[in-house]
Symmetry: C2
Subunit: 381 residues, 2 copies
C-alpha cells in the first residue's frame, strides 16, 4: 500500500513510518516541524538526538534498505496538501499532524489559537484533499480517549444508543474533554462525522490514551533513529516524565490526589494499531471509532509501578503530591470499553516491570542530557 503519514516527524509519526516501510509499504511522510519549533521556543528540547527528517530517512535507508519519502510542509496549506495527495494517490493517510499537548493549549491565547486553527485546518484539509484527489483513501485519524472525559457512565467505543421518551437513536458517545487540546479532537470528530455522512468518505478514528515508551524495534537499530522523547510538563506524557524524574532523583510529581484514571498504551502497540486499522479498513461512508488503549491506571498506580521497578534497580524514588494545576476530577468512575482493536488482532505489550526497567535503562544512558529546570513549567488551567 502507499501510505501518507502526516506529522511524520513526531513521537508516533516517525516510528510508524519506519515500521510500515519495513513491512513493505510505500511510505511518504509530511511534517512542518511545528513540534520542534514549539519545543525550541519553550526551551524544552527532547532527551534524545534528533536529526532532521530527511537525514533520518537517509539513515533509515542505510540501516534497513527501505525508502521513506519526506516532504517538509504545512498541512494547514491546502495547495501544498492537495498537490501531495494528487501526486501520491495514497491508499491510506495517517493523520498525526496536530498540536498534541494539553498543557500547551492552555498556556496563553496565542497557544490556544494555534491549537484550534492548526488542528482543525489540518483535519479539514485532509478531508478535502481526500475528497478531491483520492475519494477511496482510508483516513486514519488519531483522536484521544480524552474526548470522552470522565463520565459517570461506561464509555463505549465511539457510539451509544440512546432511548429517550420511548424512542431510540444511535449517536456519537457524548464528549466533554478536560483541555482545549482535547476539545479540538472533539471538534475534529465533528468534522469527520459530518463529511462521512455527506460525502461517504472512509474514516477510522482512533481514541488513543496517553502513550508511553521510548523504543520500537526500528528505533533500536541506530541511535539516530530515536523518536522525539519529551520529559517536560508541556510535551512529556505522564509515564515518560515519571521515568525521567526517577532517573535524576526528582520526586514523581502526582497532581492532587492522584486518583485520575486513564487508559494507557505502549508506543509499540500504537504502531500495531495503525497497521491493524490499515489492513482491516471500514466500509466507504463509515466512521469507525476504536478505543486505542490496553489497560487503565490511576496516576497513583503509575507512580507506584515506577517506584517499585526502580527499587529493583537500586534507584530510590519518592512520590510527591503537588497542587493540581488542572481542572479535573481527582477521584472518579472510569470504565471504558476497548475490545475493538483486540478483535482485529492486537497483542498488547502491557506495562510490566520489565517494560519500565527497559525505559529507565535507556533514559539512564542519556542522563547527562536531562535538565531538571525543563520538567516544570507551571501551566495552570
Amino acid at each position: 500500500m502507499r501510505i501518507l503519514i502526516l506529522g511524520g516527524d513526531g513521537y508516533l509519526g516517525w516510528p510508524t513510518a519506519m515500521y510500515l516501510s519495513r513491512k513493505g509499504h510505500e511510505v511518504w511522510v509530511v511534517d512542518n516541524y511545528l513540534r520542534r519549533r514549539l519545543c525550541l521556543e519553550l526551551d524544552v528540547e527532547p532527551l534524545l538526538p534528533l536529526p532532521s527528517l530527511p537525514e533520518r530517512a537517509r539513515i533509515w535507508k542505510k540501516v534497513s534498505g527501505f525508502d521513506v519519502r519526506t516532504f517538509i510542509g504545512d498541512c494547514r496549506d491546502y495547495d501544498f496538501m492537495y498537490s501531495i495527495f494528487k501526486e501520491a494517490q495514497p491508499d491510506a493517510v495517517v493523520h498525526y499532524a496536530e498540536q498534541p499537548s494539553a498543557p500547551y493549549s492552555m498556556l496563553n491565547h496565542k497557544a490556544a489559537s494555534l491549537t484550534v486553527i492548526n488542528n482543525l485546518q489540518s483535519t479539514l484539509n485532509v478531508i478535502w484533499s481526500v475528497h478531491k484527489c483520492c475519494p477511496e483513501c482510508h483516513i486514519i485519524k488519531i483522536g484521544t480517549m480524552g474526548e470522552y472525559g470522565t463520565p459517570e457512565i461506561d464509555i463505549e467505543e465511539g457510539w451509544i444508543e440512546i432511548e429517550h421518551k420511548g424512542k431510540k437513536d444511535r449517536f456519537l458517545f457524548p464528549r466533554q474533554a478536560s483541555s482545549l487540546y482535547h476539545t479540538t479532537k472533539i471538534q475534529d470528530t465533528d468534522l469527520l462525522w459530518f463529511y462521512v455522512r455527506t460525502w461517504g468518505i472512509m474514516v477510522t478514528d482512533l481514541m488513543q490514551g496517553p502513550v508511553y515508551g521510548i523504543s520500537t524495534d526500528e528505533t533500536e537499530l541506530n541511535g539516530s533513529l530515536s523518536t522525539v522523547f519529551n520529559y517536560d510538563e508541556i510535551f512529556g506524557t505522564v509515564l515518560n516524565r515519571f521515568i525521567v524524574q526517577a532517573v535524576i532523583g526528582h520526586p514523581l510529581t502526582v497532581y492532587g490526589k492522584g486518583g485520575q484514571t486513564r487508559g494507557y498504551i505502549n508506543i509499540r502497540d500504537t504502531i500495531a494499531c495503525i497497521e491493524l486499522s490499515l489492513l482491516n479498513p471500514p466500509e466507504m461512508g463509515q466512521l469507525r471509532i476504536l478505543n486505542q488503549i490496553t489497560e487503565t491506571f490511576s496516576v497513583n498506580e503509575l507512580a507506584d509501578r515506577v517506584r517499585k521497578a526502580c527499587e529493583s534497580l537500586g534507584i530510590k524514588v519518592h512520590i510527591k503530591h503537588v497542587e493540581n494545576p488542572r481542572v479535573e476530577k481527582e477521584d472518579h468512575y472510569y470504565n471504558p470499553t476497548y475490545t475493538g482493536l483486540i478483535d482485529l488482532g492486537l497483542k498488547p505489550h502491557y506495562l510490566s516491570e520489565e517494560v519500565i526497567i527497559n525505559m529507565v535503562e535507556k533514559v539512564l544512558k542519556y542522563k547527562k542530557n536531562i535538565s531538571k529546570r525543563k520538567i516544570f513549567w507551571g501551566v495552570k488551567w
Copy 2:
C-alpha cells in the same frame, strides 16, 4: 447595561442594536463587513438599501435620539477584540459575528475554511477577551437548532440525561448537523462548554431556527434603517426567499419532497429573546441553552402558507419541487422542546397570513431591485 454586539451590521445584529439602544442600554457595535464582502464577491447583493454601519448609526441617532457606537474591525483579531473589551467593560456581549450561511460553507474549500476559521477564532477570542477583561460579562451566543439535526428522539433544550448500563449522567444533547456551517456551531458549543467548566464563565447559547421577517419597529422608522435582506440561495433564509420568488412570479422552489421540518422564528422574536436572555442571566459557571424557535413547519407547509397569503392579494403562486441539492432527510421525525424562552416571558409573533402579507407588501416596494438570476446558485452538498 452596556452591551457589545459583535456582527452588528448583520441581519439580526443591526435590528438588535437599535432595539436595545431604544430600551436605554448603552450599545457598542463591532463588525468587519464580512457578510457585505461575501455578498459582493458572490454577486448576491441584498434587496434593501444598506448605508455603512456608522452612517446607519448617525441616521438612527437623528431619528431616535439614541447613540450606537460603531467599530469596524475583525473579531478574528485578538488584539482588536481585547482592546474593545478592555475599554467597554460590557455587562453582556451578543456574539453574532459568524459566517452564517450553510450553502456558503459548502461552496468550495476556500469557503469551508473561512467558515471554520472565522467562526471558531471569533468565538475563542470572545471567550478569552471576557476571561481576561471582564470575567463576569454575560456571553450571549447565537447557536442553531441545526446543531441537533433531525434525530429519531425528541430534542430537548441543550441537555439530556442518559441512563446506560445502570448508571446515569447528564450530557449535552447529541449533535449532528447537516452542513459545515451548522457543524461549526457544534464546535462553538464544544468551546463554550469547555471554558464554562474550566473558567466558570457565564454563557447563554441560543439554538435558533431559521429566522424570517424584514421589519422591526425600529427599521420602519426610516428607509435607511433597514436590515440586510438576502433572497438568494446562499444568504437568504427559506421563507424570505419564497416571498421574493412569489413577488416576481418565480415558482417557490421546494427542495425534494419538502417534508424537511424545522423550527422557525420571526425576527422580532429573535430580538425579544436576546433581551429576555440579557435581563435574566444564568449563574456564573453555567452554560444555559435555550431553543429559540416559536413553531415548526415543513417546507411544504411554508410554501402553502405563502401561496395562500399571496392569493388573498391576487398574486398567483406556483410551487415547484426541485431536485434536493443537499444531503438531508426529506421526511423525518421532529419533535423539539422550546419552552425555556416562553418561560422567560416571550410573547411569540406567529407566522400568520397577516405577517406574510406585510412581508410581501414590503418586498413589492422594492420589486425593481430583485434580480431573478441571483436566486439560484446551484450549490450542492
